[in-house]
């Protein structure tokens, strides 16, 4: 348990990067990665919830009785999800419409409950915040990477997060491979990315 804060942070970026190393939180991963802007937006929202729920769970860990800990964690998480929902509705309305029901569904994202259960309830506030930030950033990166592949092949564009800019990659002659942005493409693409990660990890 002698890990430093920095190690808690960096492990989320590679060693335990969700959804590859920890196979959790697949639903938002598959659903919002049609475009890079959506993927990154979702990642940022989930990171916010993850960091603050980790901090609060860690701060309250000696008060919460272990028998009712899961409902307590869920209430903490749901509170931050509502905050994200209301803030997004106010400042990023188009993104809010795009992500639709997947914003309230952050509450049942197993990554967040999983980190509360596996990490925050056993560790100090600083370590939990670092863990939440690391795992959250890892999740955002993974969503961004998957979305970049799907959007580049499926629509021939890359949309820049938090702006209306859309880069056209291949010029007007490009015929989009729509399989990639449809549902099946998400599963196949994630499966193949996982295989590549396994291949690299083996060395």
């Amino acid at each position: 348990m002698a890990k430093t804060i920095v190690q808690e942070f960096t492990k989320g970026l590679w060693e335990e990067i969700p959804p590859f190393r920890l196979v959790l939180g697949l639903c938002p991963t598959l659903a919002v990665t049609k475009s890079v802007a959506n993927g990154i937006g979702m990642g940022v929202a989930a990171t916010f919830v993850l960091v603050f729920s980790n901090i609060l769970v860690s701060a309250l860990r000696s008060i919460i009785p272990s028998k009712v800990r899961v409902p307590c964690f869920i209430i903490i998480i749901a509170t931050f999800v509502v905050i994200v929902e209301l803030v997004m509705q106010a400042v990023a309305y188009p993104l809010f419409l795009q992500l639709g029901i997947f914003i309230p569904l952050i509450v049942v994202n197993c990554i967040i409950l999983g980190r509360a259960e596996a990490f925050a309830q056993k560790n100090g506030i600083a370590a939990s915040a670092a863990d939440g930030l690391g795992i959250g950033l890892g999740f955002t990166l993974a969503l961004g990477a998957l979305a970049a592949i799907r959007e580049a092949f499926g629509a021939g564009t890359i949309s820049i997060p938090f702006s209306d800019t859309v880069l056209n990659l291949f010029g007007p002659a490009f015929k989009p491979f729509t399989f990639m942005v449809e549902a099946p493409g998400a599963f196949v693409c994630l499966g193949l990315m996982l295989a590549v990660m396994n291949l690299i990890g083996k060395k």
């Binding site: 749901a78 509502v82 929902e85």
Partner: protein
């Protein structure tokens, strides 16, 4: 009547909750390694989702909507679902032990199954009336069960097969799910 049948077929096949709407994928990959687990999970989801759909719709219709409280929908729904799952578990344990033995370990997992919360939210978002809500709360989990059981059948075969090392386990399962999803996408022309 025709509309309701369309809604049911649409929810089971065309907008299949697992393969087209991408909800409930964690239990989909987690419990599909054996047929017994898949059937248990599918039954538990049908049971809980129907009750959760009913309760959350009534709550929204009679309390949240008239009093302008929709901004706390997320908290209310997740609490209702968590309480309901706990209640169903206790109820089954006391009164129908045989069913409890079958569903037992899958019930607590359902709280964090996004398919349950997802369908409750869809019912509200699409502004379904009472009958439509009943149909949707039955048809979506039926589609979940169908996809899960079919997929478990495929996956039992894959485990026996010789899969290249990096693709093993979750990776090949996702690729297989992709091709199943492709076949469900074929139903799109029906409606």
């Amino acid at each position: 009547m025709g509309d309701l049948i369309l809604l049911a077929v649409g929810a089971i096949l065309v907008n299949n909750i697992l393969l087209i709407q991408y909800l409930g994928n964690c239990p989909f990959l987690g419990t599909s390694k054996s047929m017994d687990n898949a059937v248990g999970m599918a039954m538990a989801v049908v049971f809980v989702l129907f009750m959760a759909g009913l309760v959350t719709w009534l709550l929204d219709y009679f309390i949240l909507e008239p009093f302008g409280l929709r901004y706390i929908t997320t908290i209310v729904f997740i609490l209702v679902i968590a309480a309901l799952v706990q209640f169903v578990e206790l109820f089954l344990k006391k009164s129908i032990p045989a069913l409890y033995a079958g569903l037992g370990i899958f019930l607590p997992l359902i709280t964090t199954n996004c398919a349950v919360m997802g369908v409750c939210l869809i019912n509200i978002k699409e502004e379904y009336n009472f009958i439509e809500m009943i149909i949707s709360s039955l048809a979506y989990p039926a589609g979940f069960g169908l996809a899960l059981v079919l997929f478990a059948g495929l996956r039992e075969r894959i485990i026996i097969g010789r899969v290249p090392t990096p693709l093993q386990d979750v990776s090949i399962a996702l690729v297989t799910a992709g091709f199943m999803s492709l076949s469900f996408l074929g139903f799109k022309g029906m409606i």
